[in-house]
């Protein structure tokens, strides 16, 4: 099992969700996060004086999938979250050791 963690632009969330549903990926978790990457935030203006917004609002999407469909899921996120501009975000993939569905006690691939 793979955990796919994607940091995306907030306004791309609907597209990412739709793209993942088409691939029959049945669940995802979303968190509102703030952070910065190579952009280092951006400047805003208030009453003539500039100030830096050091942490830009982003959405963190977390999906756990079977190993066999991990690459399809990643492709779906990349193509749907891409606006071809800076700040589009990143995807991190890691291995999940164990998963349990709480209601039935099913484990691993059956639990997803």
């Amino acid at each position: 099992m793979k955990l796919i963690t994607a940091i995306i632009k907030p306004h791309r969330l609907e597209e990412v969700r739709d793209a993942l549903s088409i691939e029959n990926i049945s669940g995802l978790t979303v968190t509102e996060v703030k952070g910065y990457g190579r952009q280092k935030g951006h400047a805003e203006l208030y009453r003539g004086a500039e100030y830096v917004v050091a942490f830009v609002p982003k959405i963190k999407v977390e999906i756990v999938v079977e190993d066999s469909i991990a690459s399809k899921a990643i492709d779906a996120v990349v193509s749907s979250a891409n606006t071809n501009s800076i700040g589009d975000g990143k995807i991190f993939v890691s291995t999940i050791e164990h998963a349990v569905r709480i209601r039935t006690g099913e484990i691993n691939d059956q639990a997803l």
Partner: protein
């Protein structure tokens, strides 16, 4: 028949005066919302408490002594209902006698009590100007203590020299040559006076923590709620029709009705000019359309036209407002460079533009001169600024005026009022 017409004229003028007073009272809501929008969430409860408490204190202190100092209205307003007459019937006949002597087009006729009501809301307006400038860092009770002095002595004194028609400290009249000081509804008497008191307070108080960096850089502290600030500005804009319109003092004949209509028209035109002036200036200076500057621009236009809303043409009123909108943006930026921290821009809007408003009166009003306007402005500013500085200084020496650094970090809401404005917000 004639007596009945005079009765009606008295009734309509009193009614008009009272409605205008109620509109000015509503400006207290405007100031509250504007200030609540331009401070941070952690100072919101405190600024709202200040606004409603200062309004109440102003009403009581002006009733106790202020109105007597300014207009000889009698301490505690003891005789206000009968206005010196021995009975209600005698009052009616004396008013009718005065009216028929002066004629239908004569001077203002209205109830004595309506005059107090109209005047008292102006005191509260002057004091409201102070609360925004000292926001987020002043002790609540020190501010309220100053409110007592400002509304019972400082404002009524300068009011007595101008609208009250008395000599300055009994020594000389506000006059240069043949022309006297002319301030129709109070660009100087109300607005610049409030700003002078605010400036004295801010100088003794210092800037909010974190507003200015060690090398002189300005670090903005954005207001928490711009929808509220915009609503507050619109409320002030509306209330200003009472402020300027009521200051005509009479509605009940054709020429005065025409004057009232011109005042409404020009007041609105100047506010519109102010917004456009500030919007364009902010766009040219900063590259962005700064909403808070637009709001200050509207108020600047209103303050500028207040000294003389009846004589300019509508086009001139718009241009005066636009000039005020331009001035206010530069003034706000300049005050920040001087490290005078005014969270809502009150000193620029009411002080700098209030002075500008006084100085443009002679452009359209033959009865005013630049020298008399400048002299009057100087006397008002010097008195209010020095008296305020002494008062703030005494309060600072005795009980202190500033909350501690830690309290400021936590917010004045918790330290002064023990409650937050938005307790369920996550930070």
């Amino acid at each position: 028949m004639e007596a009945q017409i005079f009765q009606l004229q008295y009734a309509i003028d009193t009614f008009y005066f009272l409605v205008c007073g109620a509109l000015v009272m509503w400006m207290a809501a405007g100031f509250s919302m504007l200030e609540a929008g331009l401070v941070r969430t952690k100072s919101t409860t405190e600024i709202l408490t200040k606004n409603i408490a200062l309004f109440a204190i102003a009403c009581v202190m002006y009733l106790l002594v202020g109105y007597d100092i300014m207009y000889d209205g009698g301490m505690l307003l003891a005789d206000i209902a009968l206005d010196g007459a021995s009975s209600a019937d005698e009052l009616v006949s004396s008013v009718l006698a005065e009216s028929s002597e002066a004629g239908f087009d004569g001077g203002s006729v209205y109830s004595n009590a309506s005059d107090f009501f109209f005047q008292v809301v102006f005191v509260a307006t002057a004091m409201s100007i102070v609360s925004g400038a000292v926001a987020e860092r002043m002790k609540l009770w020190s501010f309220l203590l100053f409110t007592v002095v400002m509304t019972s002595v400082i404002y009524p004194m300068e009011g007595s020299w101008t609208w009250g028609g008395k000599d300055v400290f009994g020594m000389f009249a506000l006059q240069v040559g043949d022309t006297g000081f002319s301030d129709f509804a109070g660009s100087g008497i109300v607005h610049m006076a409030g700003a002078a008191a605010a400036l004295a307070g801010v100088l003794l108080l210092g800037a909010r923590k974190g507003k200015y960096g060690p090398n002189g850089q300005v670090k903005p502290i954005p207001g928490a709620n711009l929808p509220l600030a915009t609503l507050g500005t619109f409320i002030l804009w509306m209330g200003w029709f009472g402020f300027n319109g009521g200051s005509v003092l009479k509605l009940g004949d054709i020429s005065n009705a025409n004057a009232v209509a011109m005042v409404f028209l020009n007041t609105n035109a100047a506010a519109a000019g102010g917004v456009i002036g500030a919007l364009l200036t902010a766009r040219l200076l900063f590259g962005k359309a700064d909403l808070t500057m637009c709001l200050n621009g509207a108020l600047a236009g209103l303050v500028a036209i207040t000294a003389e809303p009846s004589t300019p043409t509508p086009l001139l009123a718009t241009l005066f407002g636009a000039a005020a909108g331009i001035i206010v943006v530069y003034s706000i930026v300049l005050l920040d460079k001087l490290r005078i921290d005014d969270p809502v821009g009150a000193i620029s809007v009411h002080g700098v533009v209030g002075f500008f408003g006084l100085m443009i009166v002679p452009l359209t009003n033959d009865g005013a001169s630049f020298a008399a306007q400048a002299f009057g402005a100087l006397v008002i500013f010097a008195w209010v600024f020095i008296a305020s500085l002494v008062t703030w200084g005494l309060i600072k020496a005795i009980v202190g005026i500033r909350i501690s650094d830690e309290e400021e970090y936590e917010g004045a809401d918790v330290s002064e009022c023990g409650m937050e404005a938005y307790p369920e917000f996550t930070r």
